[in-house]
Symmetry: C2
Subunit: 345 residues, 2 copies
DNA sequence: CTGAAAGCGCTTACAG
DNA sequence: CTGAAAGCGCTTACAG
């Protein structure tokens, strides 16, 4: 029933006594139509409830206005926040996000052909990595790809990443300045560049300082992983004075296990720092010191790169670093109980 | 450059020495093509890197396979989680979610015409309410609309909501069973049905019990709002023994302010319950008693309704209730210090 | 099983 | 400013 009533431009044209061209121009921004013609078309369109078929327009103009957005880990407030601003910024730029939720990282290669079939004008990928084979295919199809927070070796896809090493270094210097020498690190997912870069930035600074003791665990970026990592690090004979977790979720878990299972007070007995600064809004009660990745700025740059490459497909892929900032709060404090590190070194 | 190389079905047909029809059939599931023809077409397609243009297919088949998904408040883990499963389930059903992020609740009326122009086969709305004018327009266009967690008076749009009253009642009975008589409620956003229904379900039970004292504050579903509501309720002369917050975020805030600013121990001095059960994954350390809305089931039903109405546009809009479940954890406990309520009643 | 032809609903040079 | 005509890239009865 509803299909039968579908109004097309020809119906409007007939009612208004004009050509389909005139109808089309009335609904095309910047097209030249006489005021009187426009009025008659608009009246007829309103009467019939006409709305131009965007699919047909996409086909003829060869511009879909659609951007493929590949997300995953929406449970992580960091990525939820990212999708929030991303969706909003794309809309503001006149583009529509076609969402692809990729639960297992592998499935992204199956998703992309669908995206390309939809003639997306670009693809933005967050929290997942494109295989280089797929990146090459996008390149060949002339579809720009921008990854946020990940990058690929070959320059087939653009990327915007936080300067993770710098972020790790900021935390290290902060903890060292507070007098901590026995330090712990909790990695996220081992084979992600984000975790590896945060760690190397952190370690470089720590190893430069004298008489430091290091320990390390892996938490997979999850709460449960953070709990287990905390149990590991805190049950050793000499407990670290300060622990840096590669994201906030793990830091929160670590604070929970430290206070509940080990009876530690934070920051008096243990300083804890995280990464993402999602704790500011999600866990304000913890007062977690963290590294702010500046999500808005990252997303802005990603959209800017995409728009640039849509406007000029000959532009090469580019990589941009966003500078992180340390947000110091109550979870880190000057070292208190001095452990006899000299005896161990 | 890239556009020049765009491969169409005719190119494949020529290379394979067949008609465009044969090419089309090769890429249409269930179409009859001779094995040999299919092979030749597939070889030619692979050689040219051909991929059918989904936009053109949408136009001719009049099926876009696109579902408009209107979201907001992605910062709230409840809605982030909902979008996560929603995106996944739509994909599994062969539909593609076109995302519209609507920051201010009003903008939804501007969004919908765009959605309809894209010939979406349906619309799913979460955390926002469609105006009845727009609902009527969708009805007229024959585009089914399903709202999750909201509903409209007239039956123009389908909806799936949690049985919020029942959820509120579950909490009330739980707290009453624990012996609490002086109870507080923290509302979310006043004019949402979710908050109002949770409140009325809670209140009905409480008022049925003898000698109860009630207090109330509004928290707008946010952390900051929860802090202020907590300050309000806890600074009165007779403090409530148990507080029910209309969502988890506010409950977490209330626990924070209760322990930090008022030195209360939870649950010894104060029992707290929330709604959504997002605390289970987001704030496991708080052990918050909460009402599980069963997101997966809600989303499943919404998608089922949508699929049904896409398959048969004559189906009427329907409304479904999802049964919530109380998850009891450590934030609620039997009443301890008995306040002399008799003197006040 | 296969191909020629019509058509989805629109836009856009082109000539007037 | 306006309209007739071509065409975007595909699918699908239809006849063979």
């Amino acid at each position: 029933m509803s299909d039968a009533r579908r109004v097309r431009s020809i119906d409007v044209a007939r009612l208004a006594g004009v050509s389909r061209s005139a109808v089309s121009r009335t609904f095309t921004a910047g097209a030249s139509v006489a005021a009187q013609t426009r009025e008659r078309v608009e009246a007829a369109a309103a009467q019939l409830g006409y709305r131009p078929n965007a699919i047909a327009r996409m086909l003829i103009t060869r511009r879909s206005g659609i951007v493929g957005v590949v997300v995953s880990e929406l449970q992580n407030p960091f990525y939820a926040r990212m999708l929030d601003t991303l969706g909003y910024q794309l809309q503001s730029a006149g583009l529509m996000p076609l969402l692809f939720n990729c639960r297992d990282a592998h499935s992204i290669d199956d998703l992309l052909p669908k995206l390309l079939a939809c003639q997306v004008e670009g693809v933005i990928i967050t929290a997942a990595t494109l295989s280089s084979r797929m990146a090459a295919e996008c390149l060949r199809a002339g579809t720009p790809v921008v990854m946020i927070n990940r990058y690929v070796r070959d320059g087939a896809a653009s990327s915007v990443v936080c300067a993770n090493q710098q972020g790790g270094a900021l935390v290290a210097r902060h903890l060292l300045d507070l007098g901590h020498r026995h330090l712990g690190f909790v990695a996220g997912i081992e084979d992600t560049s984000s975790s590896a870069d945060r760690e190397s930035g952190f370690m470089q600074q720590v190893l430069r300082a004298p008489n430091t003791i290091l320990c390390r665990a892996v938490g997979g970026y999850t709460y449960q992983g953070g709990i287990e990592a905390g149990r590991d690090l805190l049950s050793g004979s000499t407990r670290p004075q300060a622990i840096f977790c590669a994201n906030d979720v793990m830091a929160i878990a670590l604070m929970d296990i430290a206070t509940e299972a080990f009876g530690l007070r934070i920051p008096q007995d243990l300083s804890v720092a995280g990464f993402d600064d999602t704790a500011r809004t999600m866990w304000p009660g913890y007062g977690l010191t963290s590294v702010d990745q500046n999500i808005d700025s990252m997303v802005e740059q990603a959209v800017a790169i995409l728009l640039g490459r849509i406007a000029n497909p000959n532009l090469a892929a580019e990589r941009r670093l966003v500078t992180p900032e340390l947000r110091v709060r109550g979870s880190t404090a000057p070292v208190r109980s001095v452990i006899p590190t000299a005896a161990r070194s």
